[in-house]
């Protein structure tokens, strides 16, 4: 391979912001300098007007593989991820069968060798994701799994969760919890509040999330195990996380782009594209989550959840929860951070960030910290300097585009942003030194 030069961009990483060209040979960045000519026959990738960021890392993607190839596969999801600027995704284990054994871990890892991003495989906490007894976490850890979760449901049994955290803590793994107390959320389909009362849709109270978050934070204190809270959606959970930070507990949290941009008012259309779990929350929660993102308290993870088209044409309470996220995440987060209005909250006191401030938030919350949580540091989420792995996201912060559900790389189309205008678009994605997306189009 001859290598390439990414020219004309502004580089943003943990070390700051500077105008620089980036030269890449093989899988490595070899030079970051104010001007690099194309000597040596390197391919020139035009990035004028763009930001060069370390490739994004998604902690939370449902690849539906094994089990639902009509919905998504490792390959199609990685294409969607690459198009969204990601160079690594964590594959959630609620597949069919679930990733609860070394065999299934190896299957996904094998599929991932052909992917356009790195794929880190997460395993289940409990066998069959049934919440009854522990999955072989030690064997899966040896096969490379660093994050365990029963995502899709919370672990309801507190004693079992204590055991899981003790055991995983001993391995040095991280436990990621889908915080949802099943009885409190029983038969709910949207956030319980003004809109659910008005629309006659059974609700899920914020407390269904907060009760379990509080329990698991306490168990983290008890066991010392690292705890990652998936898709935090309420102000109350954020308060619990802040308390955990203050107490010095090893707790992290993530927020999904849809919870940063859409409120439960969207459900007034009864359109199941707005059904997700945890549900869209009131605008005040959206604002709390954006503020937490800006202040570095949470990271962004997509909860990319493909569903076949016909399942989203059911009545709201019969449709499955979940939204696509990988291809729109950065555009949504960028629009939210820089426009001040969010996409639907209607609140006028949302934070408004400059490009530099927003880029700094994106680097930390969508690349550096997620890489650390996923155990991918070194390969992912590093600084853009000579010697680093060449995983880059080249992002045009001023480009506006309208999301078209029929033109996504995902095999599914269940985006809640269809027809919405976003600011900021991924132009190129470079994975292990290879341009996998150029000018927005995947090369394979």
């Amino acid at each position: 391979m001859k290598g390439m030069v990414v020219r004309g961009a502004t580089v943003v990483d943990s070390s700051g912001v500077r105008r620089a060209d980036v030269a890449i040979d093989d899988r490595e960045i070899v030079a970051v300098e104010s001007s690099i000519d194309a000597a040596g026959g390197r391919r020139v990738v035009d990035a004028s007007g763009c930001l060069v960021l370390p490739g994004l890392v998604d902690l939370h993607a449902h690849l539906r593989d094994p089990g639902n190839p009509e919905c998504e596969t490792v390959e199609s999801a990685s294409r969607a991820a690459a198009r969204g600027g990601y160079t690594a995704v964590v594959a959630m284990p609620n597949t069919d069968p679930p990733i609860d054994s070394v065999e299934v871990v190896r299957y996904v890892q094998e599929r991932a060798t052909r992917a356009m991003t790195e794929v880190a495989v997460a395993g289940t906490i409990t066998a069959g994701r049934k919440g009854e007894r522990l999955a072989p976490m030690g064997e899966m850890f040896e096969a490379g799994v660093r994050l365990f979760t029963d995502d899709g449901a919370g672990v309801q049994d507190a004693l079992l969760m204590r055991r899981a955290m003790e055991y995983a803590g001993g391995l040095g793994a991280i436990i990621a919890e889908h915080c949802e107390e099943a009885r409190l959320a029983y038969r709910g389909h949207m956030h319980e509040g003004r809109w659910s009362s008005f629309l006659g849709i059974p609700g899920i109270p914020a407390e269904a999330e907060e009760v379990m978050a509080a329990r698991d934070i306490a168990l983290s204190r008890l066991t010392g195990c690292r705890l990652h809270l998936l898709h935090i959606s309420t102000t109350g959970t954020l308060d619990l996380v802040r308390k955990a930070f203050k107490a010095g507990l090893p707790v992290t949290g993530e927020v999904a782009p849809h919870h940063l941009s859409l409120s439960d008012a969207e459900v007034a259309s009864y359109d199941p594209q707005f059904k997700v779990n945890p549900p869209l929350r009131p605008a005040e929660d959206v604002r709390s989550l954006v503020n937490a993102l800006v202040s570095g308290e949470v990271v962004v993870a997509t909860d990319h959840a493909p569903h076949p088209a016909d399942s989203k044409e059911l009545p709201f309470d019969q449709a499955p929860p979940g939204m696509l996220g990988l291809e729109t995440a950065l555009g949504v987060v960028w629009t939210v951070l820089t426009s001040g209005s969010g996409l639907s909250t209607g609140l006028d006191d949302m934070p408004v960030l400059s490009f530099e401030e927003a880029a700094a938030v994106v680097v930390e919350a969508m690349s550096v910290v997620p890489a650390r949580i996923a155990g991918l540091e070194g390969a992912q989420g590093g600084t853009v300097r000579a010697g680093s792995a060449a995983n880059l996201c080249v992002f045009d912060p001023a480009a506006t585009w309208v999301v078209d559900r029929n033109r996504l790389a995902s095999l599914s189309a269940n985006t809640p942003y269809d027809g919405r205008k976003l600011t900021g678009r991924v132009r190129h994605t470079i994975f292990r030194g290879e341009p996998v997306v150029v000018d927005g189009e995947p090369l394979r």
Binding site: E192, R194, I201, A268, P315
Partner: protein
């Protein structure tokens, strides 16, 4: 796209009143020895009932037939709908067979709205989950109009007390909107477990003690108590419900002479209401059923035959403050801020 009646909000006060006026004409038609007019001759009305509701279905069918419309009636258990054919496929099939209107009853909130997205035909919501049952509310308003009289079709000055399981009641949601749109004061009474979790923006007051509001009630609207509510631990027992929120003989004596007692049916005699009280003159349950037919004739005629404008687009009644960047379309087509 055709117009539809999905929510009382689609009508607003003016729309409710024009349906009432039309209902007068259709009540006259219904009183004839040949209660049929050719107004919707050649129109086809498809009744899609995904939930058992013989009363509502028969009422709509009678209304359609009295308008000379053709009726295609589907009850879920007797058709391919129970064999996994999707709602969308069914709607598109019946649309291809020439349905001009769909009357939709479904256990899911928003089902009628979904149907309206898939068809150019008019859609009437005949009950969607806990959400709304607009034609029941119209029949109730019309019943009250017939009882209280007056040419203006208004409920100004009247106090309506809605008792019981508001949370799970599409009838309550529609009636709160309709009664308040027509100017009535509404009080909801019942145990907190049966109230919607959040009533911000509802133009109602809430009371736990039924005895306190009865002396001041012009209308007592009793909601049906489903027996499964006790299984879900929403109530300790039916007996306790009756003791605290049933219209017993003692409570009936607290009512002023002008009071009217209503119930969407079918009544659980001995639960929501004392069996003897249910048979008193002030209990107009029979009228509610009877008036259902001319009101549904009026709705079908209004949608398919009249060419009349729809109600005020500013017909929002319940105010939900969800921000204005994306105005929810379920509460009317107005761009006005909802407060």
């Amino acid at each position: 796209m055709s117009r539809s009646l999905l929510s009382v909000d689609d009508l607003g006060a003016a729309g409710i009143q024009s349906i009432m006026r039309l209902s007068d004409s259709f009540a006259e038609v219904s009183s004839r020895s040949i209660p049929r007019v050719p107004a919707l001759r050649g129109k086809t009305i498809a009744a899609l009932f995904y939930e058992d509701s013989t009363r509502t279905r028969l009422s709509f069918e009678a209304a359609a037939k009295r308008l000379s419309a053709d009726v295609m009636s589907f009850a879920v258990k007797s058709s391919s709908m129970s064999k996994g054919e999707s709602l969308r496929d069914t709607v598109q099939t019946l649309g291809a067979m020439g349905a001009d209107a769909f009357v939709v009853r479904h256990a899911s909130a928003g089902a009628a709205r979904l149907v309206s997205r898939w068809t150019d035909a008019a859609v009437v919501n005949a009950g969607d989950g806990w959400h709304e049952h607009p034609t029941q509310a119209l029949a109730d308003c019309y019943t009250l109009h017939r009882r209280f009289g007056g040419a203006a079709f208004t409920m100004a000055g009247l106090h309506a007390v809605i008792v019981g399981d508001v949370k799970h009641s599409r009838v309550a949601r529609s009636n709160v909107k309709a009664f308040t749109a027509l100017g009535a004061r509404v009080t909801l009474v019942g145990p907190a477990t049966l109230m919607p979790p959040c009533l911000d923006g509802w133009p109602v007051s809430v009371e736990v003690d039924l005895d306190r509001v009865l002396p001041d009630a012009d209308i007592v609207y009793l909601l049906r108590l489903q027996s499964e509510r006790t299984d879900e631990s929403l109530l300790p027992s039916q007996r306790e419900y009756t003791a605290r929120w049933g219209l017993t003989r003692r409570r009936a004596a607290l009512l002023p002479g002008r009071a009217t007692v209503m119930h969407p049916g079918p009544m659980n005699r001995g639960v929501e209401i004392d069996p003897e009280v249910a048979d008193r003159e002030f209990c107009v349950v029979g009228d509610q059923v009877r008036n259902g037919v001319p009101v549904r004739m009026a709705v079908l005629f209004w949608l398919l035959g009249s060419g009349l404008p729809t109600g005020e687009s500013s017909g929002q009644v319940l105010a939900v403050d969800g921000g204005d960047a994306h105005q929810p379309d379920s509460i009317g087509a107005s761009d006005e801020e909802v407060r």
